[in-house]
Every structure is written in structure tokens, then in C-alpha cells.
Amino acid sequence: MKAPRILIIEDENQIRRFVRIALEAENFDVIEADSGTRGLIEASTRQPDLVIVDLGLPDLEGKEVIRQIRGWSEMPIVVLSARDREEEKVAALDIGADDYLTKPFGMPELIARIRAHLRRRQSNENQGDPIVHFGDVIVDLAAHAVTRSGVDVHLTPIEYRLLLSLINVRGRVVTHNQLMLAVWGPNYSERSHYLRVYMGHLRQKLEHNPAQPEFLLTELGVGYRLV
């Protein structure tokens, strides 16, 4: 099987360099682009399996790159951003990025994320498995049943819908907006704190230690992710 191809769009030479070295050491095929335009050309011609985009590009905005790629491809997109750009990060996720990493980031973290997204993509291709596992929790999508260590867990309809929304895009960061839309429908985006209440309930029911969750992770100020 051929090595997965990763496109990295980043204007900082040093960052591109260590990411390339680290990824090549992990047997990835790495393509570099130092600007948004260049990145779009590479993305369309070389057909990478995953794209890493820096949000602070000199020519195009990172968001614009994502929007254009999403116009024709579902390939996983991981965003890199500085800490003081929360809104941009959320906006990038809202228009279709799958994940984000805050600078400075560690390579093991990035590689883990990349692997997770590639895996998800593959599993998407052979979809249809109605049973989802995480930890000792089993969700039977066909029967709408949830068990933990073999014991039935009762979820309210909203809790179940929320869990389902996260399962559908497992591994991806789902923003508050996206979740509100999926669970409550439009017109609720102002009440994202509902989410926190229900996520708290879900964690109480499904996690060992709700304050230090293992699966239902919080991306503070951005959204949630199921791993």
C-alpha cells in the first residue's frame, strides 16, 4: 500500500521543515507549499490524503483555502493557529476543517491526529457498522441502545442526539454551532451553554472520571470531540 500523501501549507520555513522531517520519518509522503495559492494548486494536482493549513498565510486567508478545497474534496484538513485567534479557529472548523492544533504544538500530537483522521477516512469508506465502541461503552445505532460494561444506560432523546452527532464525525472537532444545529436545529445558536449541561450529563453517565474525560473531550471555547 502506498504511503499516505500529506500536503502542508505553511509560510514559516522552519515549521514546514520540522513537520516534513518528522512526517517523512513516519513514512508519509510530504508535499510543501509556502502560500495559499501554491497550496491550492498542489491540493488539486497532487491529490493528497490530508492537508495541514496554517491560518495566518501571507496571500490568502487560511479560511479561504479551506473553503475552496471543501468545494471539491472531503479530504481531512487540520488547521494550525496561534492561541490568540480563537474566532478564526472556530470559523475554520465551521466551514469544514476537521481538527486544529494550537502553536506551539508537539509533533507526537500532530502525528496522532493525522493518523486518527486517516483512519476515520478509511473506516468511512467501509461504513455501515451499526455498533460503535469507546472504552467500555457500546452504542447500537440500529437499536438506539447504549450500554456501559454490559449495563443499559438510559439517555434522554437530546443526550442521545448529541452523542450521535459526535459519533457521526468521530475524531473530528465539532464546533458549538455545528452541534447546536444538529441537536436543536437553527435559532438556538445563542444558547450554547445548553450543550455544556447535556455534555455534563453524558459524561456523568458514560465517563469514569467526568472531570478528566477520556472520550468526550472538551475543546475549550471551540467545541467537542469524541475520540
Partner: protein, 889 residues
């Protein structure tokens, strides 16, 4: 020796004068003896020469009076400004358009007829004020003037020609001209021109003009013009001598006081005093002493005195109204207090008998003040008897009616008591009535009551009763005594009453001023000053008030008004602010405005504008009241300036504090950034050595990673702090779960905390808390990494949260060595660390940042030591009630 060297103060004043003069435009006046000598023609010729020299000249306004020579000359000018059309009583009249002129800003503008009075509705009452504004804006002006229009010569010319002219300009304006050119024409030639019809005479004054243009008049006028111009040359000569230290005699500055009385002579007196002051280059004052006698003057007489004071003010005098019972004593005391050595008084020829009876005013004055020169201005007018007669007519008749009624009642009362009382006691009762009437209704009514009492006494009480016939001659003596005593007592009572009234008024003024000053001295902000100013000014002057303050662009804006708002024109206020002159009602500028505008002038600069609505502003005519208002304005301006400088001082303090912070930041950073950087450089350079065994390489790499991570934390803290301090951070508050925030903080620190035991105890039903999650996470991350940094591996770190008393309390404690004693609060200051010398990295910024963030949330953060051991940090955030979905309620 000293005289050779100019006095430094004077030099300084000279420099200041030159500075002002340099910015100010130059004024050239073409003066002539009368109309028709060719001033306008001469002025236009001179302007033509300027054009030839390449100077930008425009015509502001020129009256050609249809003279062909002038019109022809006027056509040669490249630019004539359009006039401003003003509708006045149905007629469209044209005036100089000062705004266009200011906008056009030529180098030189021609403005004919300086003494012209503008039509109502123009900006200034007089054209010379327009010219003044042009000069202030640095525009040079050529203008013309007839000698009779000079204020101080006005009455002299009137006396010569028998025609009084009302259009005048103040002498100081004439004297301030940079150049004066005399346009002279011998009387014979002028008469020749007149015959040829070359002189313009308005139809309505044709008859008067015939008398005016008599040869004798023309000679006299010519002499006046020549002399006035010569005076000016003399003045310049003296100024030149002074400038070049030629003067070898130091002259004491003279001060002249003109004493204005009720007679119509005041007008002449004021002009004489002005001329005298001008000749002596002296300061001069015009004073009016209000004695009990003068207090009772009719309204018209009072108005005339005020007019005279106003005239004096226009002629450059300082004015004052003094109150006192003794005219001479008050006058002398005032002269001494003001160090005046010359008094100008009118000749008291009002009434021949008055002089006979009264100790001669001038003689007394001279006797009491031998060191003061007294100038007496003669009275060439007919005596004032007529005006006195009119005064009698304007007396308040009801005072006399009351006096009559009081005497009547007393008579009836006395008649009833006659059975018990003696006749002599009846006299006493009547005397008592006279005293009462004098106090209540004044001297006139008192005298009337005195006379009436005598008659009533005679008619009703002296036998034979009910007839004026007197049986005993003794009673005539009683009548005379009674009348005299009644008059004297009445006089004294009235005087007492007057003094009490004036004292009251003075007391009221002094109290009002004291109250204002007291409150202003306590004011700390501009808003307070404005509020106090509005309250006091509106209270004292019984008028609607507004205070305008300038913005940073020098644009005037309303800062506050009294409870009722005055009608205000912001453009006028702006003008007043820009020119530092009063305007509006009661002044010479924009007098048609409904409000009075006063600049708030402080020593350093104008601080704003005070506006009073004119409804109750008649008092502006009274110098004392006006001065009180001026004092109020000065006090307010001073307070504004004081507050301004307090703010400046505070800013300077803040700046100094900032400077101190920056210094300590720099020294802290140089340590805390350089240490990890040194380590990084060292570690990385060691790593490049390829001979190292693989596990050493890995060890080095991990060390580099740790150092870099620490620097990253430090930089994050620094940036957050900087952003919070510059106010660049807007809290993104939302209803947040503390559990999630703590969870993600622990996740972020999982590597650092790996060596410690972490206990989290958060109740599952903890309410949401409104906060900025990223910032609160920052606080918890800082506290947790501190706990990890300052305790040994294996220590326990506990995080707990609870909602109590409307507060969300988050507690982070450890079982380490605890905090240094007595340092618990100082820890949160910037660049403070528990131990001053420590190998533990961090600029001591972490806790300061925590405090800043928590305080931005209106919360509290504090540190303490646990009872057994370890440190405890507590965060308290205000807790509201989050709106919840219905199914959960």
C-alpha cells in the same frame, strides 16, 4: 548706570508685544479732517502701489458715493469681495462680509469708513470690530477715518460744529494702528471741491452740512486732525526712546480717577479724563460713589450714570461703583487704595443754592487729600433744575399715600388716647410715625409725613381744636422743633436703612462668592466643576446657565446646563472661545444674541465658555454685578485649570509607574528569558555533535523541549498581561461549566502534572458560571503549574469547586511547603516571587495575570497557607442564574 540699561521686565513685555504684533495684521489708517478731503482716493492709490509690488490685495468694502474718480480707480482692482446682504426693516442693505474675507485671507484688505456702524444682525456692532477681527487673523487692513469719529474728540468737534456724530471709534484702536497717514486739504480747496459737487453729502443732512462746511469749522477740524496725528507721532517718538533706553528719567506710572456724579456733565468729564490719561500715558479709572442721597435718584438718572461708566469703559477705563455714606471719605480711601494721584471731578454748579448751603465739595476734597491733584471740569450746560422737576414727577406716589394714611391712623389713635395722654405724648406718637415712615418709605415720604404731622397736630390737638388757629404762641416753637426733629430723625433713619440695604447686597455678593469658592475648592473632576458652576451662577444671577468646554480639537461643546437650559448658539460660543472676548447680549459683539457669553479665562489659557440667558440680565449694566459675574467666571476657570493640572499630574504619575514597571519587567525578562535561551543554545549545539550516544541525544532533545515549553508559557503570560493591561481584551463571557474548564486545564498540563497526584472534586450538579473560559482556564493552568513547580514530586494537588452565597469558589491547594509568611497578598504584584533568588523559572507574572483576569470578572483571588501544610489559592467568581432549557427545569 541703571537708566542706560532697559528694565528686563519691560523688555519682556516689549518682546511679548512684538510677538503679538508679529502675528497680528498691520493696520494703516488714512485720517482726514472731514468728508471730501480725498481719503478713499488716497487709500486706493496706496493699495494700487501695493498691487504693483506683487501683494495680494482685495477690496472688502469701499463707498464710492458715486464719485467717478473713485469708481475709475476701483475698476483697476483685480478682486472685489461681494458684500453681505442683510434685510433690515424691509430694506436690503449691504455690509462687509467678514466670513468671506477671513476665508479668502488676502495679504491686504481695503475697508473704507472705519467708524461705520453695522446694521443690526451683523456679527459686530461696529465696523472697527470687524477690522479688529481681520487684524487678529493676520490680515493687513487699509482703512479711512474722519477725525470727528474719534471717541475722545467727539464732543470737542460737536462743540465746534454744533453737530453731534454718533458713529465713533475708541481712541485705543486708533492708537494701536501701525501707520497713520494724514490726508490733508486746505479749507479753501475743500470748499472749492464742495462747490464743484465733488464732495458727497447725504440728502438728509444737507441742511446741517451747510453749517458744517463753514470755513471756521473746517480750519478747526483741520487743526484737530493735524494735532491728533502729531500726538501720535509724539507717542511713537516716546515709544522709540523707551525702546532704545533713551529716557533718562523714570516716571512713576500715573493713575487717574474720574469721579462720575449724577449730573449730565459726566459725559464731558469722562472724555476729559480719557484725554488726560492718554496724554499722560496713565491708567485711569472711573468711579461712581453711591451715597444715600444718590440712592434715591430716578431710574433715568441712574441709567445716565451707568451710561457714563460704560462710556468710560469703552474709552479704556476700569470702572467701579463704590458705596458709602460720605462721598469724600469713600473717594479718598479708594484713591489711596488704588494709588491714584489725580482726581478728575465735575464742577458742582448744579444748583446755586446747593453750593451756598453745602460745604464746597472740591474744597473739602482738597483739604482732606493734599497729596492728590484735583482737576475740575467745568459745566457749560444749563442747570439741572428741569431734570429735578421731572424727578419729582417720577416719585412713587404711593409712598406718599402710605405716609398720609399712617399719619391719619396715628391721629385717630391719638384722638382716642387723648383722654389718657398729655399733648406732649401725642407729639411723641406722631414723631414715632415719622420715623416709621422714613424707614419704610424713604426720606421724601418721611419729610412729607413730618410736615403732615405738624399740620395734623395743629388742627386736631392744639387748642382751639379743629382749626389751624393757634391760641398760644408757644405752639409755634413746638411746631418748629417738631418739624426739625422729625426731619432729622427721618433723615437718619432713611440713611440707616440705605446702609443696611447696601450692606445686605454686599453681603449677598460676598456670600455667593464664598460659597462658590468653597464648593469649587472641593471639586475633583471637570464634571463636578461644571455642575457647581451651573448651580451657583444660575442661583446667584437668577438665570439659565450653560458651560461649554473645548474638545481636544478645540471645538466647543456643552458640558452641562442648569436645570433650565438657556438658548445657546454654539457658533457664538466657539467665537467667544477662540477670541477670548465676551459676546452676545450686553456686549458690543453679536449683541442681538439672546444670551450673554463669557470666556472662562484662566492664567494659562481659556478653559471654556459660560453662557447666561438674557432674560434676567439687566444687571449686566451695573458694573458691580458684572464684576461679580466676571469673578465667578474667573473662579470657575481657575477651578477648571486646577482640575486639568491634577489630571496632568495623575497622568504623569501613571506614566512614571508604567516606566517603573517596564524597568522591572526588562530586568526580570532579561533573566528569565536569557536563562532558558542559554540552555537551549547550549543543548542544541551539543546535540549537533553526531558522536553522542543515542540515549544522550534523546535526553538533550527532551531537555530542549522542556526549556522551550517554559519559554512558551512565559511568553503567553506576558502577552496576555500586556493585552489585559492595554485594555485590548474584551471578555468573551458565556455560561461555562467549571468542570470542563478544569478538565481542559488538566489536559493541557498533563505532562507537567504527571509527577504529582491530582485530586479533582467537583460536584456533578455544580451550576454554570458566566465567564471567559479561555482566560479562566489560563488562571487555573497558572495556579496548577505553580503548584507543580513549587512542590516536590509525589505531592498532592487538590482542585475543588463549590457554589455558595451567590459565588462560585474554586480552590486549588497542595501539601507542599506553603507560602512565605506575610507574603500572601504581595504575591499577586507584578514580578514578585515567593523567594527572591530562585532557580525556578518564571517572571512572577503568572499570579499577577491571574489577579488581573479575575478582577476583570469582578471576582476575587487570594492566597493563604493551609492549616497543616501547603498553599491554598481561592478564586471567587460572582454567580448568576443561567437560562436553562425547559425540560431541565
Amino acid at each position: 548706570m541703571n537708566e542706560e540699561r532697559p528694565d528686563p521686565d519691560r523688555l519682556l513685555a516689549e518682546i511679548k508685544r512684538e510677538e503679538i504684533a508679529a502675528q497680528r495684521g498691520k493696520l494703516k489708517i488714512f485720517i482726514g479732517a472731514c468728508a471730501g478731503v480725498g481719503k478713499t482716493y488716497a487709500m486706493l492709490n496706496a493699495a494700487q502701489q501695493r498691487i504693483a509690488e506683487g501683494i495680494d490685495v482685495v477690496i472688502g468694502v469701499v463707498e464710492t458715493h458715486g464719485r467717478s474718480e473713485t469708481i475709475k480707480l476701483l475698476e483697476k482692482f483685480p478682486e472685489v469681495l461681494p458684500l453681505r446682504k442683510i434685510n433690515y426693516r424691509g430694506k436690503s442693505l449691504a455690509e462687509l462680509d467678514i466670513d468671506t474675507a477671513l476665508q479668502r485671507a488676502p495679504q491686504l484688505i481695503i475697508v473704507d469708513e472705519l467708524a461705520h456702524t453695522n446694521i443690526e444682525g451683523s456679527r459686530h456692532v461696529k465696523r472697527w470690530q470687524d477690522v479688529d477681527e481681520l487684524l487678529v487673523n493676520g490680515i493687513n487692513v487699509y482703512t479711512t477715518l474722519n477725525v470727528q469719529h474719534l471717541e475722545s474728540l467727539n464732543d470737542v468737534v460737536g462743540g465746534i460744529t454744533g453737530i453731534r456724530i454718533w458713529e465713533t471709534i475708541p481712541d485705543r484702536f486708533f492708537d494701536s494702528a501701525d501707520e497713520v497717514t494724514l490726508v490733508d486739504l486746505p479749507p479753501d480747496e475743500l470748499l472749492e471741491r464742495l462747490k464743484e459737487g465733488k464732495v458727497y453729502i447725504p440728502e438728509q443732512v444737507e441742511h446741517a452740512a451747510k453749517n458744517f462746511f463753514r470755513k471756521g469749522n473746517l480750519i478747526a477740524l483741520r487743526e484737530l486732525a493735524l494735532r491728533r496725528t502729531a500726538d501720535r507721532v509724539d507717542l511713537q517718538m516716546r515709544a522709540y526712546r523707551a525702546d532704545h533706553a533713551i529716557a533718562n528719567v523714570w516716571q512713576a506710572r500715573e493713575r487717574i480717577i474720574a469721579c462720575i456724579g449724577p449730573g449730565s456733565i459726566g459725559d464731558k468729564l469722562v472724555r476729559s479724563a480719557a484725554r488726560l490719561a492718554n496724554e499722560l500715558k496713565a491708567d485711569w479709572l472711573a468711579v461712581y460713589v453711591e451715597t444715600p442721597a444718590l440712592q434715591r435718584l430716578s431710574k433715568t438718572d441712574r441709567q445716565r450714570i451707568l451710561d457714563h461708566l460704560k462710556l468710560a469703559e469703552e474709552l479704556g477705563a476700569e470702572t467701579a461703583t463704590l458705596a458709602g455714606s460720605d462721598l469724600i471719605a469713600t473717594l479718598i480711601a479708594y484713591s489711596k487704595s488704588r494709588n491714584a494721584n489725580k482726581l478728575v471731578v465735575g464742577h458742582p454748579t448744579d444748583l446755586p443754592w446747593y453750593q451756598q448751603w453745602h460745604p464746597r465739595f472740591i474744597d473739602t476734597l482738597a483739604r482732606f487729600s493734599p497729596d492728590i491733584d484735583i482737576y475740575v471740569v467745568g459745566n457749560d450746560k444749563p442747570s439741572q433744575i428741569r431734570s429735578r422737576v421731572i424727578n419729582m414727577g417720577t416719585m412713587k406716589w404711593w409712598n406718599y399715600a402710605w405716609a398720609t394714611a399712617a399719619c391719619g391712623v396715628t391721629t385717630i389713635l391719638a384722638a382716642g388716647l387723648l383722654r389718657i395722654f398729655d399733648l406732649s405724648n401725642v407729639v411723641m406718637l406722631l414723631l414715632l410715625t415719622v420715623v416709621g415712615v422714613s424707614i419704610r418709605f424713604g426720606r421724601g415720604a418721611g419729610a412729607w409725613a413730618a410736615a403732615l404731622s405738624v399740620l395734623l397736630f395743629d388742627f386736631f390737638f392744639v387748642p382751639p381744636r379743629f382749626s389751624f388757629v393757634v391760641s398760644d404762641v408757644q405752639y409755634f416753637f413746638t411746631f418748629t422743633l417738631m418739624l426739625l426733629i422729625a426731619l432729622i430723625i427721618g433723615q437718619l433713619a432713611a440713611k440707616l436703612q440705605f446702609e443696611a440695604t447696601t450692606a445686605n447686597i454686599r453681603e449677598r455678593r460676598a456670600q455667593a462668592l464664598a460659597a462658590l469658592s468653597k464648593e469649587l475648592s472641593g471639586a475633583l473632576t471637570v464634571e463636578q466643576v461644571v455642575e457647581i458652576a451651573n448651580r451657583h451662577v444660575s442661583g446667584t444671577f437668577n438665570s439659565s446657565v450653560a458651560v461649554f468646554l473645548p474638545s481636544s480639537q478645540e471645538k466647543i461643546k456643552v458640558a452641562g446646563t442648569s436645570s433650565s437650559q438657556p438658548i445657546v448658539d454654539t457658533a457664538v460660543a466657539q467665537w467667544v472661545y477662540d477670541h477670548q472676548l465676551p459676546a452676545g447680549f450686553g456686549t458690543q459683539t453679536l449683541s442681538a444674541a439672546v444670551s450673554h457669553y463669557l470666556p472662562l479665562q484662566a492664567p494659562m489659557r481659556t478653559r471654556g465658555v459660560l453662557v447666561l440667558e438674557a432674560k434676567n440680565l439687566l444687571f449686566l449694566d451695573e458694573p458691580e454685578e458684572k464684576r461679580l459675574l466676571d469673578t465667578f467666571a474667573a473662579q470657575i476657570a481657575l477651578a477648571l485649570e486646577r482640575v486639568h493640572y491634577v489630571e496632568v499630574a495623575q497622568d504623569a504619575l501613571v506614566l512614571m509607574e508604567g516606566e517603573r514597571l517596564r524597568n522591572s519587567l526588562l530586568s526580570a525578562i532579561s533573566h528569565d528569558l536569557r536563562t532558558p535561551l542559554t540552555a537551549l543554545v547550549g543543548l542544541a549545539s551539543t546535540l549537533t555533535d553526531s558522536n553522542l550516544p543515542e540515549n544522550s541525544q534523546k535526553e538533550l532533545a527532551i531537555a530542549i523541549q522542556n526549556e522551550a515549553q517554559q519559554m512558551s508559557d512565559l511568553v503567553t503570560n506576558l502577552l496576555d498581561m500586556a493585552r489585559l493591561q492595554t485594555g485590548g481584551v474584551k471578555l468573551k463571557k458565556d455560561w461555562q461549566s467549571i468542570e470542563e474548564i478544569v478538565g481542559s486545564a488538566c489536559m493541557q498540563l498533563h505532562r507537567v502534572l504527571a509527577t504529582h497526584k491530582l485530586v479533582i472534586s467537583i460536584p456533578p450538579n455544580l451550576p454554570l458560571c458566566e465567564c471567559d473560559p479561555i482566560l479562566i482556564q489560563r488562571v487555573i493552568v497558572n495556579l496548577l503549574s505553580n503548584a507543580a513547580k513549587f512542590t516536590s514530586a509525589g505531592s498532592i494537588i487538590t482542585i475543588s469547586a463549590a457554589a455558595e452565597n451567590n459565588e462560585m469558589a474554586i480552590v486549588i491547594e497542595d501539601n507542599g511547603p506553603g507560602l512565605p509568611r506575610g507574603q500572601e497578598t504581595r504575591l499577586f504584584d507584578k514580578f514578585t516571587r515567593g523567594e527572591t533568588e530562585s532557580n525556578k523559572p518564571g517572571v512572577g507574572l503568572g499570579l499577577a495575570l491571574c489577579k488581573a483576569i479575575i478582577e476583570a470578572h469582578d471576582g476575587k483571588i487570594f492566597a493563604e497557607n493551609c492549616i497543616d501544610s501547603g498553599a491554598r489559592f481561592t478564586i471567587k467568581l460572582p454567580l448568576g442564574i443561567a437560562p436553562m432549557p425547559e425540560e431541565l427545569l
